[in-house]
């Protein structure tokens, strides 16, 4: 009985904000929001399951509220969701640019990824390869060559390939392989680039390496990456090269 009274007193001396945080910590976001309508983290967390399950109308209702309450904390995540979950590249860029303007002299990392890498992906998704290269280059510059996401170099290579600059594409893919020889995306795209240049021996060499290293591919069962490759594509190119 005394314990019960103690718990009641403890609970009643807490502010609504503290109660809201308590419920957010135990993942009861609806109740957290009921206690504090201004708990932006609770609004954001409430959006997660809806967006993961494909109900973006509902997910974005919650996420938009989080952004409205605390833009600098949630704009990056919203941009990331727009990019990775629905490929709304234009609106993702709007979010990333706005976040950047709110955080001067700071290199943002929405959901743990460099903002210029993400902006590069948006431009790449929009088939704007020149601007994608600018963003990816900025990402490498800001993070330094050895710390940049290895896929930055793969994207740089693909952008050059799309622009018809096959020699430049090859040098970008080699930057990725310098970080890790098992980057199958680099090998696959190297095979395509060498094929374009008529060097079939090198193309064959890299398509075999792509196949051997497919288990290291960039993979995420939540989302398909824009530069994701598949074994069937590798086999198809391999057969074409061996004809």
């Amino acid at each position: 009985m005394l314990v019960l009274i103690g718990i009641l007193i403890w609970w009643n001396i807490k502010t609504d904000t503290e109660k809201s945080n308590f419920f957010a910590n135990i993942h009861d976001y609806e109740t957290a929001i009921e206690y504090d309508q201004n708990n932006s983290d609770a609004w954001m967390e409430r959006s997660v399951s809806f967006n993961k399950a494909g109900d973006f109308k509902k997910g974005f209702e919650y996420l938009d509220k989080a952004v409205e309450l605390n833009p600098s904390s949630h704009l990056g995540y919203r941009g990331w969701i727009r990019l990775r979950k629905i490929r709304d590249f234009d609106q993702a860029l709007v979010d990333f640019d706005r976040l950047d303007s709110l955080t001067p002299n700071f290199i943002d990392a929405p959901w743990g990824e460099n903002i210029d890498f993400l902006r590069g992906e948006c431009h790449y998704g929009n088939n704007d390869y020149v601007r994608a290269i600018e963003s990816f280059d900025r990402s490498v510059k800001n993070q330094k060559e050895d710390w940049a996401d290895i896929q930055t170099f793969v994207y740089l290579g693909i952008c050059e390939y799309k622009l018809g600059n096959y020699e430049k594409a090859i040098s970008e893919f080699k930057r990725a392989l310098k970080q890790s020889e098992s980057t199958c995306e680099a090998h696959f795209n190297l095979a395509m680039s060498y094929e374009k240049l008529g060097d079939l021996d090198k193309a064959k060499e890299h398509i075999i390496k792509a196949e051997d290293n497919i288990s290291y591919k960039r993979d995420d069962f939540y989302n398909e990456y824009l530069n994701e490759i598949y074994l069937s594509e590798i086999i198809e190119l391999k057969q074409k090269l061996n004809k």
Partner: protein, 141 residues
């Protein structure tokens, strides 16, 4: 003969009830949970091939921009159970592309997809997402 007929009837009913049970015995686990790793054989290449024809033929979709999500519930043995659909415009508000005709066509294609694979035998759901841009199906993933 009557016994045989009775046996066939009972067997058919049992088979039917097993099919029904497989889809209804549990709620769908999210695709990301418990290491289910549900996917279609050939992954997204298969999906893109399946929707290729409609992607080429539907070039005047209205509203011209938006997003469609197909949520396919698949039984623990990889059988299609049911489908939920979500259609939103570029402002993420509910809409109906081509007054609801497009989603019917997409549903029919999705229902025909076979060879769902998984690492663990749980009923789950998979998402197929389509991006509509300038009246065309721009992305299928």
């Amino acid at each position: 003969m009557r016994k045989l007929f009775t046996l066939i009837t009972i067997f058919s009913l049992l088979s039917f009830s097993q099919d029904k049970t497989e889809c209804e015995e549990q709620r769908s686990m999210p695709y990301w949970s418990n290491g289910i790793n549900s996917r279609i054989e050939g992954e997204n290449i298969t999906l893109r091939n399946a929707f290729r024809e409609i992607q080429l033929s539907e070039t005047d979709i209205t509203p011209i921009n938006g997003f469609i999500t197909l949520r396919l519930h698949i039984s623990k043995t990889g059988k299609f159970c049911n489908i939920e659909t979500f259609q939103i415009d570029e402002n993420y508000q509910n809409t109906e592309f081509n007054s609801g005709e497009l989603i019917e066509k997409l549903e029919n294609i999705a229902i025909g997809l076979k060879d769902w694979e998984r690492d663990k035998a749980y009923k789950t759901y998979n998402l197929i997402r389509l991006k509509i841009k300038d009246g065309k199906i721009e992305e299928i993933f």
